[in-house]
Subunit: 376 residues, 2 copies
């Protein structure tokens, strides 16, 4: 590990012959050329990035790749969720092939969740599977989407309905780049950090309540929060790679959240993914409280923390509204976490006590949504 | 197995928890509803087919599914290789989602290799992987493309450059439907049957030389040839599912063949896949002979047999020609069986003695192609 900077934290993801490392730390973009040359000697690299991130961070990455003697090409896609569609997938696939990359070469995602999901899916399907490296540049991507191998695009029928489980060979999470994020974007990623506490780690949630300012500010609290999140996700993924069981816990807040994203047509000016998850988690706890599964205190406590850091927690916080119950129910019904006509939700018995509820009555969801919309 | 007709031959494909059966026999389309209801109870079925095959065979299949109480929808794509493209993939994916099929439901490919490759790829990526059943209706699909889990579409850079390894849960090969094929189409599939003899089964090749008329005619010789082919392919796939080694042997004739298909722009009126493979296998043997690896006698013997059944064996047999050496070399260079700049070919030391040659000098290929084009 001598090639990695000394302050780098390593989180292994144990998946048999598809195991890989997440390296978290400072300066990893600039040192990526040397890291990749050591771990994947002689591979050509297709860097998939968006215009915003590419301008900021690609030059340092490319300089390192050139210095390490790795052939590289940059493929730039538009920033934003709308990029996760078939036309852009075809465009990326086509450019990777046009650069004559082979099966052993690398597709490298340099960007947030959109770039990682799209580039990972392209890596999964070009030549039926190429090498793949994630370099997540948003907090959300570093703690969530870059880890665990879910890749894909959206469909007009819903978010992430098309894709592949495809593991990267390495994740490099450079914590310096998070300083270039807007506060709104950082907050959105923080919703996923808080999620790991809410799922099964009440101690981590309490730590966040006490130390969230440090996470936003940077330094060791931030690294601790990211590494804890990655370890939590890696453990779940190692237990259940393809989401036939436990992994569904990671969807806490996501069934409601995806419906909100659909209701706002994936318009990031109104609602970004992490914000939708923040509201969705609050809804999951409110729904759990309404069903008598957890206390109102628990729902109020987690809502208060998310509100304190500046995240939206209510449907009424979404600019332009989220439509009516019928629209939300239709979006929930098409969500891929449906199993044979029943609705599956991640509900909670308390903070850090989430569980998979597979037989949720659609009528109960409908009644809850009507009430939740009426909170105003 | 009481639900399967008594004359059905079963060929198991051993792939651990993704193992499945190939059932080969008469009347399997009409009995498919009962078979599927027994093996996959309660699943909804999206039948992907083309207009030609759908008109001929979908009604019998649908009647059986209805009788067995399985919800089903038909998705019809245009017949022909041009259907293996992104736009049609998106169309199939979209229709599967529009019919609200879930992760455990089935995509069923009813058709030849094009339908199987496209539908299988759609099954692989909708909700990151749905159930998948192959009902191959061409000889080529029954002995080759429906077995082994290769799915995908073409790119403007080459054939099958985009796709997934995705295993079906069941293959139903109804041998009756082959009577609806044209002689040309049956012959094209026969090229892949002969391939199994040429790879590693000289006894089977001799049997084909003696019994090919029976295979074309139908009855027990045909079933024997199909079952032998499926067993051969299943054995290779079980050894090497994702083509990191041995499986490449199945590409005998395919590197040259794909270049010919590219040169004729996948125009099936000029050259269909099996014909390209027939010529490609003859080229592989001629190239092997030129390199001193096998005798000219072996090349002449296998060429003579393919010619006897009516298959093309020479570049000059392709209507409109195949262009020049530069065009063919460019197509070969983009073929996905390239590894780090070297060319990989399946060559032969004799009939039934094929092997993977990984370090073939492009200059040697170029010289061979110039000579082969000059045969006139």
């Amino acid at each position: 590990m001598s090639i990695d900077a000394p302050e780098t934290t390593r989180v292994p993801v144990a998946l048999g012959d598809r195991s890989y490392d997440i390296l978290i730390g400072s300066g990893l973009i600039a040192s990526a050329g040397a890291t990749l040359a050591a771990r994947f000697p002689g591979r050509a690299v297709a860097i998939v990035t968006d215009a915003t991130v590419g301008d900021l961070h690609a030059p340092a990455l490319e300089a390192g790749l050139t210095a390490a003697g790795l052939r590289h090409h940059r493929i730039t896609v538009p920033a934003g969720e709308a990029t996760k569609r078939f036309a852009m997938l075809e465009e990326v696939v086509d450019q990777v092939l046009a650069h004559r990359l082979e099966r052993g070469d690398l597709v490298l995602a340099l960007g947030g969740g959109v770039v990682g999901d799209l580039a990972g899916f392209a890596a999964a399907i070009v030549r039926r599977g190429m090498g793949f490296v994630q370099m997540p540049t948003s907090l959300l991507a570093q703690v969530d989407s870059s880890v665990g191998g879910k890749t894909g695009i959206n469909s007009r029928h819903g978010k992430n309905l098309v894709g592949a489980f495809y593991q990267p060979g390495l994740v490099l999470a450079d914590t310096d780049v998070l300083d270039t994020l807007s506060t709104r974007e950082f907050r959105a990623g923080y919703a996923e950090v808080a999620k790991y506490g809410l799922i099964d780690d009440p101690g981590f949630f309490s730590w966040l309540e006490a130390n969230w300012r440090g996470v936003f500010q940077g330094g060791k609290d931030r690294v601790h929060a990211i590494a804890t999140s990655c370890r939590a996700k890696a453990a779940v993924v190692a237990r259940d790679e393809t989401e036939t069981g436990d992994r569904a816990l990671l969807n806490l807040g996501h069934t409601f959240g995806h419906a909100l994203e659909a209701a706002t047509r994936y318009d990031g000016t109104r609602l970004v993914h992490g914000e939708a998850v923040a509201i969705g988690m609050c809804q999951a706890f409110r729904f759990s409280a309404k069903l008598g599964l957890c206390s109102s205190d628990a729902a109020e406590r987690m809502t208060a923390h998310l509100k304190t850091v500046g995240l939206p927690t209510e449907l009424a916080h979404v600019p332009g509204g989220v439509g009516d119950v019928d629209g939300l129910m239709a979006a929930i019904g098409q969500d891929k976490k449906v199993a044979r006509g029943k609705l599956t939700f991640i509900l909670a018995r308390g903070i850090g006590e989430s569980f998979i509820a597979k037989d949720v009555d659609p009528a109960a969801v409908r009644a809850f949504l009507a009430e939740d919309l009426a909170r105003g």
